[in-house]
Structure formats: structure tokens, C-alpha cells
């Protein structure tokens, strides 16, 4: 039965969507008729895709991202494109060129970011499933702040083809939903080998979540409860870890010294990659056009000044600086050494434990404007960036509240053990978690 359509007219009072499709088509399959929201940096044929940036206003991709093709193949209805920090650069969704998204749990707070629109759409009950992208925590942060579940898969397990590039070596598309079984379902649809992504792994995902954690060794790095972590958040997360212990898991405290340099390594790397990736926005091939009568550099510089927001320009310029002659060794090369140390730390820890656990975010959702200083916003990503640096899977699952605001429990697993992080999250969710 092809050719059926859904009626989608949500009451989007949190500004989760940048645009919706009022009558999306759907087909047969495992997601038949299920509405799925797609972050606006994932290409959708025939549906405007802007990355929440003015420089892509009016851009209508002539092709679908691989994940979108896979969703359609399983019968899903693509109901709209969700708001985000411009090009994924932010942790609050306040950096959207089209206005921020509000947190459905408390409208005076940010939903987190950069996949804030996807998280808000799920938390507000507008869609059961959403796609986000995670470069340094952009799925897990909004999942934690909005009280939903979000998985950053192992790097390479989900195709990036059609994802508008920000920092290629770090980013992954991943599933977001209200509970672990829905995240598991969406992951099973989007994972798999894609020759169009040069880093794609041939590792399809077919898994039935198990809530049996008996004998699972859960490592808890001291550094994940260090400076900057709200003690009330720490206490809620420790309660969650204790619950897993009561269900038969073994808790092992451990150390992760490379955490001291992880955040700087992450930001130097993502800014450097961004400075290269975002060079493509020249107003010639897509987006608002340049004045072709002007000289090249003048036209190009003007278009980019008008088209990019402050934070995007800041990151492009800092990345340019970090890669420039005389500074490459001090910044980029050192960042890659620090990244290697993070990988080694994880490898060592994962010979002793099966997963690592801690808070997803150091605090609950910020108030609007609270993180107006860029560095203070960067610092809030400290607990999520290590998984991206190492390419390992990590999930955020709601584990309680502080002053009525959701707190996320983060579970990180070995490379390619997405199934195990799903299981531990499921055990917690089913085990009497809030």
C-alpha cells in the first residue's frame, strides 16, 4: 500500500521545528507510519535544509542522506526538520539563526544542544523518534536536559553520507526517543555499511535489549565527578549507579588522567576541521548568492560575514589560526597527541571494566543567556567529548531530577559495543528508574 500520507500539524510552542511537512508520505516496514523528526543538518531531498544558518537559507538538497533513505525504506514519515545550534556549534540551541528552542520541561531553560530541536520534539510528545547528530555531545546533552534517551553510536556504524559536515573525524548521526527500546529500534534502521561514507563500518545493528546486568563491570572515573559538576547532579547519578549495582553489576572506581586535556583537544580538533569544511560556503553553488560583479575575495568575505553567525565565525577563525604556519605544532599536533592519550585511557579502562558511567552533563539545563561567554559554554561539554575523541558509543538515559529538571546518566562502552550500552541503559530504565 504505497502512497499513504500522514497528517502532521503539531502545536510547536517550543520551536522544536524549523519547518514541518504537513502531509508526509509513508510506506510499509518496521517504522510504517511512524513520524520521525530529522535534525536540520541532515539532507532531505525536496525539503529545505539549512543547518539553522542563514548561509543555507533556501537550500533544497537534491538527494537524501543515507539515514533518510533507510528511514523511508522502513516506512517512516519524515515530518520535519528540527532546530539546532548553527552547524552544530553550541550546547544550547541558542546559536540557531532562526531563534532558540525552549525546553519543554521548563520554558525558561534551554533544551541543550546542538540537537535541541530533536530532543524538544520528542520531550513534548510531538514525535516518537528523532535523529540527532553528536560531534562532542550534541545528542546526549539535549537528551539529558530534556529528559529523553539519546545514543551516540560507535564512529562509523551509522553513515554520515548527506550529513552536512562540521567535524568529520568526530561526528555521528544517532537515534533519540523517549525510551531505550525506541532508541534501539531507530538504531537498527539507520546502522549499517554505506560505501558512500569512507569511514563506514560493515556492522549492522540487530539487537533485542536485555536488562540483565549481572556480572557487568561498571567503571566510574573519578574525573567524571570532578570540579564543575553540581554535587546534586553527582548525587542523583550515584544513586542511579547504585541501582545498577543492586541489579547485579559490579562498580569499580577508576581514574582517567587524559580528561585534563580532552576538552582543549576536542575544541582545537573540531574548530580546525570546521575551518576547512565550512570553506565551501561561497554563495556560488548554494545559499543566498554572491554578487558576481564584485572581485572574488570581496564578494566571498561579505557573503560569509552576513551568512554565518558569531559563533560559527569564531570557530572558523580559531580553526584557521590553529592550523596556520607557526601554530600548527602548538595547537593541532598537540591536540592529536592528547586525543591519542584519551583513546589509550579508554583502551586501558576497558580491559578492566565493561562500561563506564557518570553524569552526561555537569549541571541541569541552563537558563537562557546563562552561557553567553563562549569558553564557559565549551567547558560544559567536558563529560561528553571524550567519547567522540575515541569514537566509542555513549548513551544518555534519564536518571532523576534536581529542582524538577532532568538529569542524564551517561554510559560509555567499548568500540563497537553499542549493544552493551543499550543494555545497561535499559537495565536502569526498567529497574525502577524514574
Amino acid at each position: 500500500m504505497a502512497g499513504r500520507t500522514l497528517s502532521f500539524h503539531p502545536d510547536d510552542r517550543f520551536h522544536a521545528f524549523l519547518r514541518t511537512v504537513p502531509d508526509p508520505a509513508f510506506g510499509e516496514g518496521r517504522l510504517s507510519g511512524m513520524p520521525v523528526a530529522v535534525k536540520d543538518n541532515i539532507s532531505t531531498a525536496g525539503i529545505e535544509t539549512t543547518c539553522a544558518s542563514r548561509i543555507l537559507t533556501g537550500y533544497v538538497p537534491p538527494f537524501d542522506a543515507t539515514v533518510v533513505s533507510l528511514l523511508k525504506k522502513e516506512g517512516a514519515a519524515i515530518v520535519g526538520k528540527t532546530n539546532m545550534d548553527e552547524f552544530g556549534m553550541g550546547s544550547t540551541t541558542e546559536n540557531s539563526a532562526f531563534g532558540p528552542t525552549k525546553n519543554p520541561r521548563d520554558e525558561t531553560r534551554v533544551p541543550g544542544g546542538s540537537s535541541g530541536g530533536s530532543a524538544a520534539a520528542v520531550a513534548a510528545g510531538l514525535v516518537p523518534l528523532a535523529l540527532g547528530t553528536d560531534t562532542g555531545g550534541s545528542i546526549r546533552c539535549p537528551a539529558a536536559f530534556c529528559g529523553i534517551v539519546g545514543l551516540k553510536p560507535t564512529y562509523g556504524r551509522v553513515s554520515r553520507y548527506g550529513l552536512v559536515a562540521y567535524a568529520n573525524s568526530l561526528e555521528q548521526i544517532g537515534p533519540m526517543a523517549a525510551d531505550v527500546p525506541h532508541v534501539n529500534l531507530l538504531m537498527s534502521v539507520i546502522a549499517g555499511y554505506d560505501p558512500k561514507d569512507s569511514m563506514s563500518l560493515d556492522a549492522p545493528y540487530f539487537h533485542t535489549p536485555s536488562m540483565d546486568v549481572r556480572g557487568t563491570r561498571i567503571g566510574v572515573p573519578e574525573e567524571f565527578f570532578g570540579e564543575g559538576v553540581d554535587p546534586r547532579v553527582a548525587s542523583v547519578v550515584w544513586d542511579a549507579i547504585s541501582l545498577l549495582e543492586r541489579k547485579g553489576a559490579e562498580i569499580v572506581t577508576c581514574r582517567m588522567p587524559s580528561m585534563a586535556y580532552a576538552l582543549a583537544a576536542y575544541y582545537v580538533t573540531c574548530m580546525s576541521e570546521a575551518s576547512s569544511n565550512l570553506a565551501r560556503y561561497d554563495g556560488i553553488r548554494y545559499g543566498p548568492p554572491v554578487d558576481v560583479k564584485k572581485p572574488w575575495h570581496e564578494a566571498f568575505q561579505e557573503r560569509r560575514r552576513e551568512g554565518f553567525g558569531i559563533e560559527v565565525r569564531r570557530r572558523i577563525m580559531l580553526g584557521t589560526f590553529a592550523l596556520s604556519s607557526g601554530y600548527y605544532g602548538k595547537y593541532y599536533a598537540k591536540a592529536q597527541a592528547a586525543r591519542q592519550n584519551v583513546r589509550k585511557d579508554f583502551q586501558r579502562l576497558f580491559t578492566e571494566v565493561d562500561v563506564l558511567a557518570g553524569p552526561t552533563m555537569p549541571t541541569v539545563a541552563f537558563r537562557f543567556g546563562e552561557k553567553s561567554d563562549p569558553l564557559s559554554m565549551y567547558l560544559s561539554d567536558i563529560l561528553t567529548v571524550p567519547a567522540n575523541l575515541a569514537g566509542i558509543p555513549a548513551i544518555s538515559v534519564p536518571c532523576g531530577k534536581v529542582e524538577g529538571l532532568p538529569v542524564g546518566l551517561q554510559i560509555m562502552g567499548r568500540w563497537m559495543e553499542d549493544e552493551r550500552v543499550i543494555d545497561v541503559a535499559y537495565a536502569y530504565e526498567q529497574g525502577g528508574g524514574p
Binding site: 569512507s198 558576481v292 560569509r304 558569531i310 577563525m317 602548538k330 591519542q340 583513546r343 563562549p374 565549551y378
Partner: protein, 89 residues
């Protein structure tokens, strides 16, 4: 210390124009962020790239790709099936 002149130079390298009134904010935030990045001076060792990653070869076979019309569909100006760009010289 990064100066306003440095920031203007980086803007030129990155092909991003900076307005006069933006210079101060960019310079202040650059210095704050770069000061934080100085922590990397303490890192020992070398980055060795992607461990376990292997080059993947494939046959160079012709497959269908986007049509010329599709590729040009988002362009501001086109001429005879090409993009129109500002003059270089």
C-alpha cells in the same frame, strides 16, 4: 596575546570579513579561549592518526550521480550549464 591586527589577518585568511565594531569582542574571546588551549603544552607524545583504520579500495566503476540540472538547482547564477562566480582577477 592576539591583537586586533592578528584577528583581522585571520579573518582575511579565513575569507571572513570582520566589522570594526566586532574586533574587540573577537579579540577578547580569542585570547580567553587560546589561553585555555595552552594546557595542551603539557601533553606528551604524538598523535598517530586512526589506529586500526585501513585504506579501502574499490573498482573505479561508473555509477549514476546527480544530473547537471540537479547540481545547478541551488546556484544563484548559472550560464550554459556552469556556475557563475565572481571574477578572480
Amino acid at each position: 596575546m592576539i591583537t586586533e591586527r592578528d584577528v583581522e589577518h585571520i579573518g582575511t585568511l579565513a575569507d571572513i570579513a570582520i566589522l570594526r565594531e566586532e574586533l574587540e569582542e573577537f579579540t577578547t574571546s580569542f585570547n580567553k579561549i587560546l589561553e585555555y588551549f595552552d594546557i595542551l603544552d603539557q601533553v606528551r607524545g604524538e598523535g598517530t592518526g586512526e589506529e586500526g583504520a585501513a585504506n579501502v579500495f574499490r573498482e573505479d566503476e561508473v555509477i549514476t550521480s546527480l544530473s547537471q540540472d540537479e547540481v545547478l538547482s541551488n546556484a544563484g547564477e548559472t550560464e550554459d550549464g556552469f556556475f557563475r562566480a565572481p571574477r578572480v582577477m
